[in-house]
């Protein structure tokens, strides 16, 4: 049996509709109109012990909603969730002992007190034995460099430091599963890198199963073999990242800067995927047309000032999947 099982999960939010004016405000005291919003629809997946899965999607895709249902703080509208044998919302406290959670935009630390005080509090809350607590603190401090700010009040920490403290806090009680909701949001490149290194390490060394949401493709590229791509509350793709790369492996992107006035730009054998003024991004299949052929085509009609050829970025691949669906892509390309 998998560690995490999600079957046909739905979450519908009821949103009270605001009514116009004073009359509306009065009416809404007695009778409210609601609209509904499907944040998650028919999502199913399973995650095995020790896996590290990237849960990807644009803003509003339903990532946080899914994580909340997995942690038990949100009740599904329908469908089934099991986390290590527990139904999270029915046994929320028991579930809380076996999971660690970090919401990138929130903190579980006491704002006004030095970070160390929050760790000590968690030690009591989860009744962590002394020896284990010291051991964990030593390990985390080592990788995350916590000592430099353990005695600083949390409100004075930089975002990067706060996130480091937060992730350490979520792991103190040796959870089996770690849920990270946008753990790198707002961090600078270096801080992101450090965070990723730590996540990789606890997954590898401690066998902690990790589910992480992000809309930063670099996170996925550096961390996860498997990704679940969602959009509008639905799963668009669930599988190895490598497979997507392979599917797009024959693809190249040609970026050209053109001279002069350019209207209605199009070139046979390539697809314009992005334009910024006279800079055009063209995607082409290198088995169907070579780069030099393509450049020749273009220079017949336009003057080229500059050009680069690139492997498609994961971001581009994913945007493509969002727009066309994975199915259409597989058919067309493989």
């Amino acid at each position: 049996m998998s560690l995490i099982e999600v079957n046909h999960l739905y979450k519908e939010f009821k949103i009270a509709r605001r009514q116009e004016g004073l009359g509306g405000a009065l009416r809404s005291l007695f009778h409210r109109e609601y609209s509904t919003r499907m944040a998650v629809q028919d999502i199913s997946f399973a995650v095995g012990r020790g896996e590290m899965v990237g849960y990807i999607g644009p803003n509003g895709a339903g990532k946080s909603t899914t994580i909340k249902m997995l942690t038990g703080i949100l009740v599904p509208t329908s469908g089934e969730v099991r986390v290590n044998g527990l139904v999270p919302f029915q046994e929320r406290q028991k579930n809380a002992r076996q999971i660690g959670v970090v919401f990138g935009q929130r903190t579980q630390l006491w704002w006004d007190l030095p970070a160390i005080e929050s760790f000590e509090l968690l030690k009591q809350v989860f009744q962590i034995p002394d020896a284990r607590y010291r051991q964990n603190m030593a390990t985390f401090s080592d990788i995350l460099g916590l000592e430099e700010f353990l005695d600083t009040p949390v409100r004075q920490l930089s975002l990067g430091q706060r996130m480091r403290a937060d992730i350490a806090a979520s792991l103190l009680h040796d959870p089996v599963i770690l849920f990270l909701d946008e753990p790198t949001i707002g961090l600078d490149v270096l801080a992101k890198e450090r965070m990723r290194k730590f996540i990789r390490e606890i997954n590898r060394e401690r066998g902690v199963t990790v589910i992480l949401t992000t809309h930063d493709m670099n996170d996925i590229e550096k961390l996860c073999r498997r990704m679940i791509l969602i959009d509008n509350g639905r799963v668009m793709y669930d599988g190895e990242l490598a497979r997507i790369k392979e599917m797009f492996g024959k693809e190249r992107v040609l970026i050209v800067d053109l001279e002069g006035e350019v209207n209605g730009f199009s070139i046979a054998g390539a697809e314009v995927i992005k334009q910024e003024g006279n800079r055009k991004w063209l995607r082409f299949n290198r088995e169907a047309v070579t780069a030099s052929q393509l450049i020749n085509h273009i220079s017949e009609h336009y003057e080229i000032r500059d050009l680069t050829i690139k492997d498609p970025e994961i971001e581009v691949m994913i945007r493509h999947i969002y727009e066309k669906g994975i199915g259409s892509y597989e058919g067309a390309c493989l």
Binding site: K94, D112, L113, Q124, V125
Partner: protein
């Protein structure tokens, strides 16, 4: 046992937090004393040289407002109303649901911590001096003092339940200023914290006697200055215990509804 130690850790952390905001304590104590003197002078003026009004001596009235201000200082040291409103507004309340403890109990122990700091560093030294200097009516026996303390503790729990309940109304309202106003108005008027119920006009006294607020300050204050004696004290205790049960049940009910709302509607 382990659970109790865990909750106690919350008291410790709040104590430390209060210590980190020492300056806050000093400004609050200044406000507290200013109000004390304001009420002192008002009552002095109202007594107008008379030795007693409705059977209450001025020295007893002085004892009443002194003990009342001291208790209000203690009650005001914690800020559960404000804290819960913040947590709901920011959505941090969800983080509390991810912990293996009861939120309302943990808040209570946090409140203890803040109160303990304020009590030790401000209330005790200041009011010891004030009582010695102003020489008001105080309990004349250890029994009376003991009954007073029991009554204070019951009153504290009642206020805690009411305040948290009001705080939880945040879940259902967009604008919460009104809730705060109603809470602070009711507690300052009906609790007898500034005007004892025996000076209320008859109809208002009747209203106040059927509300829970009088069980917070009026009863302990009256025991303190000896206005409540003999079997009347036992009736007063019964009144407090019943109100505590009622307020606690309401708090649990509202909290259950609120947590339902979090887990169904996402806060």
């Amino acid at each position: 046992m382990g659970t109790f130690k865990m909750y106690l850790e919350f008291s410790r952390k709040s104590f430390q937090r209060a210590a980190a905001y020492r300056f806050d304590v000093w400004t609050r104590i200044v406000g507290n004393v200013l109000f004390l003197f304001m009420w002192g002078f008002i009552w002095y003026g109202l007594y107008h040289g008379k030795s007693s009004v409705e059977g209450v001596s001025f020295q007893a009235m002085l004892g009443y407002i002194l003990v009342s201000q001291a208790l209000q200082g203690i009650h005001g040291a914690g800020t559960p109303l404000w804290e819960i409103q913040e947590r709901v507004r920011t959505g941090d309340i969800a983080m509390e649901m991810l912990r293996p403890y009861d939120y309302t109990t943990r808040m209570l122990f946090s409140d203890f911590g803040g109160i303990a700091f304020y009590f030790i560093t401000a209330i005790v030294p200041l009011y010891t001096v004030l009582f010695l200097v102003l020489n008001p009516v105080v309990p004349t026996s250890l029994v009376q003092l003991g009954l007073f303390v029991v009554s204070v503790i019951l009153g504290y729990f009642i206020r805690y339940c009411i305040e948290l309940t009001f705080g939880l109304f945040t879940f259902w309202l967009v604008e919460t200023g009104g809730v705060e106003d109603i809470f602070y108005f009711s507690i300052s008027l009906f609790s007898g914290s500034v005007i004892p119920l025996w000076f209320f006009p008859g109809w208002l006294e009747q209203v106040a006697r059927y509300l829970p607020f009088q069980a917070i300050f009026f009863i302990p204050n009256s025991i303190f200055v000896g206005q409540l004696t003999g079997p009347a004290i036992w009736y007063a205790f019964m009144n407090q215990v019943i109100w505590l049960l009622v307020c606690y049940l309401i708090l649990r009910l509202v909290w259950n509804r609120a947590s339902m709302k979090i887990v169904i509607q996402g806060g």
